[in-house]
Every structure is written in C-alpha cells, then in structure tokens.
Symmetry: none
DNA sequence: CATGAATGAGAATTCATTCAT
DNA sequence: CATGAATGAATTCTCATTCAT
C-alpha cells in the first residue's frame, strides 16, 4: 500500500468521524490530503471504496495487534485477556477517529460490500470474545460462551461511547479489570445455575459468516 | 397530530430504517405515502423536521407506555422491572423499524437539534435504568447505579441487535429474565466487594442534560 | 370594487414595496389580509393580475386627484402647476409604498400586459408634464416641451428617490418651487437660444401610446 | 478573470436585461453559454454571486474608462466634462444590456451585499458628478453642487431610458452638449440668486458611504 | 501519475394555482 | 364565498465521477 493510499485513508477517517460519511465530500478528502480530486481516483475506485478501505485498514490493524499479544509468553490466560482488553481500549482511544466513525456509521447502509464487511467485523468480534472465554475458563464454559461474548461486547461498547462521544478520560486498565471481574461474576453464577439464553443454532448463520 | 402526519412518519421510519436517512429522498417518502412531494411540505418544514418528528413520536410513545406499567399495583419492584424490560423488548420488536433506524442513525450528525435530541434520549435511558435499580435494590445500590445502568443498557442493545438486524426471533420474556438475573449476579458481587467504576462526577454533564 | 379587493391591493403594495414582486408570495399577501390563499383567487385571476390591479389602482387614484386641482379657479397657470407638483410629491410621500414598489419594479418584466401598462404610465406622465408647460408658457413653448417634460421628470424622480429610498424628510413645497424655478431658468435660456434636442418624431410612437 | 467567467457574465447580463434577474434561471444562463449547469458553479458560488459579479464587472469597467479621460491634457475643464458625459452615454449605448439590466433591477432587493453595492454605485455617481461641477465652476459652485449633481443625474437617466428602453438612436454628442448647457443655465441662475435646496447634512450618510 | 474543468443526475425546497368541501 | 390541502413544475445547488491535458 502506497503512502498516498494511507494518507487518503487517514484523512478520510478523520472527516468521516467528524461529519459522517454522507456529509463528507471527495473534494474535502482531497483538500485534506493536499492534492487534487482526480488523484484520489488513481488510488480508489469510488467514495464507497474509500470507506471500505478505511474499514479494512483499521480493523485489520487492530485485529493484528491484538493477535500479537496473545502470543505473549508466561502469562495466565486471564492475564492475557485483561491485557488484550486493556490494549484494545487504549487502541480505541488512540484511534478515536476510527471508533467514532464506526459508531456513527454503524450499519448505515452504503452498499452491499460495506454492509457485509461491517457484518463480518461484528461476527469476528463475537467469535474472538468467545475464544477468549474458552481460553480463560476452559471447556466448561462452552454453553455460556455466546451469551458471555454478547454481554461483554455490549458492555464494552457502552463504556466506549462515554470515552469517544462524550470525551471522557477513563483509566482504561481499571475499566478493563472492572469489566472482566463483572464477567467473572456472571460466569460463576451461570456455571452454578447452568442457565444460558443463546443457542448455537440461533447464531449459526451469523457466526459462520466470513 | 393529523392522520397524514402520522402516515408520513410511519413511511419515513420504514425507509430510514431500510436505507438510512441520507439515502432516503423526500420523493421516496412521498411516493410511499402515495401523494405528491409538495404535500409533505404542508406537514413538515424540512427533511430534518421529518426525522426529528420521527424520533419524538416514537420515543415519546415508548416512554409513555413504559411509565404506565410502573403505575401497576400489587407487584414487587423486581416484578415491575421485569415487566417493563419485557414490555420494552416487545415494543422494540413491534416497532422494529424505529429501532433499526435508531441503530443505523445513532449519532450520525444531521443537525444540532436532532443531535441534542438523540443525546437526551441516551441520557434519559441511563437515568431511567438507574431509577429502576434504585426501586429494586433500595439505597444501598446507589454507588453502583451508574455502572449497572450502563452495563445493562449495553447488554440490552447487543441482544436487540440480534433481534433487529439479524431478524432473530427470541423469547423476549425469557431474555428479560436472563438479563435481569445477570444484573442481579453483578449487584450481589458489587455489594460484597463495594467496588464500582463510574463516579457521578464523570457523567455530571451527561445526566443533567434535559 | 369590493372592500376585499381593495384590502388585497393595499396589502400587496406594502409587500411588493418592501420585498419586491418576485419575493412576495401569494400566501404572504393572504396572511397580511387575514384570510385564506384560495379566497384571493375569488377576486384576482393570478398573481400578475394582483400586480396589474395595484398599478391601475394607484396610478388611477393619483391621476384623478391631480386632475381635480387643475379645475381649481382663480389661480394663475404657474400657481396651478406648483400646486399640482407639490400635491403630487405629497401624495408620493403618503403612498410611499406605491412609489417604492414603482421604483423597485420599474420595468421589471412580469408579463406583457403589465409592461404595456407601465409604458403607458410613463408616456402619460410625459404628456401630462408637457401639457402643464403649455398651460404655463403658452404656444411659444411648443418646440421645447418634450425636453422640458423629460428633464423635469428625471429631476423629480431623482429627488423622490432620496425621499423614498433614503427616507429623507424634505419640505416638499420648497422642493416643488425650487424645481419649477430651475425649469424656468431653462425655459428662459431655451427661448432665447431657440435650441432644443428632442423632436416630436423621436417620441411619436411613445407618446401615441394609450 | 478567465474567459469562461467573462462569458458567463456577458450571457447573464443579456438575460437579466431581457427578462429580469428573477425570471432568468441558472439553466438558461448555462444554456446560453453552451455548457452544463454545474460548470457555472465552478466559476460562481451562486446566482447572487453572478449578479454581483455582473454589477462589479461593468461598473468597474465604465468607471475606469471615465477616469482615463480626465487624465487627458490640454482641454478646458468644461471640455473634459463634455467629453466624459459624451463618452459615458456612448458606453451606455455600447453596453446597452448592462444599463437595461440596471434600469430594470434598480433597487430590486436580492440580497444585502448586492443592495449595498447598488447603493454605493448611486452614491459614487453623485459624488463623481459633484466633482465635475467643482472642476468646471470652481469653488463658488460649492453650495449648489449637490442639487446640480442630483438634477443632472436625473436628466441623464431620463434621456438614457429613451435610448435603452425605447431603442431611440440619438446623437449622443449633441445630447451631452444640450444637457451641459441646460446645467449651465441653472448654474448661472443659482449663482445670481444664491438659492439651493439640498444641504450637505441631508445626504451625509448617503455620500459617506464607500 | 496529477490535475481540475466539465458533467449531469439528483436533492431539497418553493409556490402559484386548483378544487372538493 | 371561503377554505386550505394537494399538486407538480420549476428552481437552486451539490457532488461523485470522468477525462483531456
């Protein structure tokens, strides 16, 4: 990927985050990059393509970073989990623009390809969280894994909105711990009651996806 | 409010839900209603005004219905809470379009008035959930109320997305119970540890907002 | 002419004067009159028709008033002339709206009928001024009459613009005297030199007109 | 200023002159230029901007030309004045469209910036004529200068209307001489009587205006 | 590769006019 | 006569995309 392509993606994200996709014009992106509108079309096929590339670039970047931590040695699975969540929150703060854009444009239908990609991110995230729970709690957690991943995802998003939309400055390590502890409360209770809500069959198509 | 106004709001919501605000034209709304473009302007000042009216209409409707349940007699606070959450989920399913639109356009900047209104809905919701926790658990819950409301809101949203975006058909009563029980797990744990994350000062400006 | 018709004309003139013909909507005229838009169409065929009626109403009114003074007795022709000009200036101030509209919309093409009418007013005015010069100075003035009427008309319009557009408050009697004296200066000089510029043939078509 | 911009101004002026500002659409201007509507917006921000540019272009052009004559040598002030008036009348005939538009749209409210500019043209013109009288007649003329400029402006406008609106073909040199002689008649009379109508205080705000 | 002028398909909005009640 | 909802043509303006230089 050329420098120019990256530059476009980075400027586009800022503008999409600040004003929303539809209210940002190609001209503005080009201006922000400091070159002509036509140039942009040498690197991207269309405005939609810019959006898609933005999504792929950032989610790819964040996913890759998260994977790397997992490879860390000597830590217990729970310590790894904590570190990953903490790291993710920090990354979200660091790439506030991307997350803000993500919140703003979440599921705003642009075109099918973008929709599919957003869908796959959501799905990937639930699968990733499920795997973390498996790592930490082992096989016994299996029946509860979908509910746990779902709840944790919702909780994380909700706190993130304070950070991103309301510009709150939180201690992300403390927050990560707090959330993981709450999940632990739930895990304990679920294991003793055996209760769960989501069935694999419910999310079959959702999780299989890409 | 005239029949026509309501018709416009109902057609608009469907289209906003399906295609997003910016991708829906006034012409399409008018076509869906079966009358001319100009007619729409006899009832609404602008496209933004349609959007704002949609938001006010539905959120007003849902809020009003929820309040009515509270007035129910002879139920324990926890039963009331359950009934309200159950009812809300059902309403969300019934007004799937509105919620879908809400998810899609959440925080997409349209104009200041609309943004302010969306903000006030979010704020109202956290305050409402906080009050429910107070009703159910009494004064001792106070220090944990903001975290509880925040987490529960996130969890509800996440399950709702399955229902709305992925068209899952869930047993909403069972889901309500499941979620309230999970919150109960957390409440117990928090009370014994005394731990909490959010401080009132963190959300001061957010909650004060009308 | 019914009361309603006159009311419409009077309200229309105010709005045309303040905002111009094109920037005034039928709705605004109806609002100013205090009745519904449709009602207006029971009295006038179209917006253009309102404009035309406004022109006819006021110019008819002013012309009629001026003629009446002429019938006054015992005054020398020059005294009559002075009185008429003075009266006209006062009327213009009194019907400031009409004159302002006239200045604003002067020759703005709306439709052929209106254009023709504006043309006939202009023509009528030059003929009327010519006749006044004939009254005052007798036959010898004939060769200079068109130039005198033209110049005097221009001078009057120019001072009127200060009064109307710039809201100057002038002593209209003093101004009338001043202008008539200036014309007198010119008459004296023209008579002694015999010089003139306009020929009847120049304005033939213009003056014949209605 | 690019060729295209000038082309647009020239076509716009023709249409504004023929049909008036409000009755001329952007589409028509673009058609007259032979290119697409959108192209026009690459050169002008809005329709109002076209109008303002038309005014600035022509009045700037005419003012500049007039100033150049003043710089001529060896002529008496009165000869210079005559030449300037003659030249102006000729220019007006040459740019008949501009003058016609000017007459038509004179004081029709479009937007504040345009109104201010029209006002400043009017003011500039009275000041310019005042200065010519000062040049020709010297200090003694001072008390009469505002009345002279006002009257002469009115007279010029009135004859110009014959030329422009009624398409009369006049000998502009002869007309200029005739008018200047008439002003001379008035000057003589005013100087001997000492009479005048306008005071500086009357037009203070009008003349100060840029 | 870079440019930016040209395009033209929409978009929102206005408003004179009609007409059923 | 009075009403005002309905109409839809017309208008201004935007902007993604193309393409000749």
């Amino acid at each position: 990927m050329t420098d120019k392509k990256i530059m476009i993606i980075e400027q586009a994200i800022k503008l999409f985050a600040a004003k929303g996709y539809h209210s940002t014009s190609i001209q503005e992106i080009a201006d922000a990059c400091g070159f002509a509108k036509g140039t942009l079309y040498n690197y991207f096929e269309s405005k939609d393509d810019v959006m898609l590339s933005v999504l792929k670039h950032y989610s790819g970047m964040i996913m890759a970073m998260v994977e790397n931590i997992a490879k860390d040695q000597s830590l217990t699975p729970k310590e790894v989990f904590l570190k990953q969540i903490h790291f993710q929150l920090d990354e979200c703060v660091k790439h506030r623009d991307f997350i803000e854009m993500h919140i703003r444009e979440y599921a705003v239908p642009v075109n099918q390809e973008i929709n599919d990609f957003l869908y796959s991110i959501r799905s990937h995230r639930i699968r990733w969280l499920s795997n973390r729970f498996r790592d930490v709690y082992g096989e016994r957690i299996e029946p509860f894994v979908l509910d746990l991943a779902t709840m944790m995802n919702g909780i994380l998003r909700e706190y993130l909105e304070y950070i991103i939309l309301d510009k709150k400055q939180f201690d992300t390590l403390k927050l990560s711990k707090f959330i993981i502890d709450r999940m632990d409360n739930i895990v304990k209770a679920l294991m003793s009651s055996g209760e769960h809500f989501l069935e694999y069959s419910d999310l079959e198509d959702f999780l299989e996806n890409r």
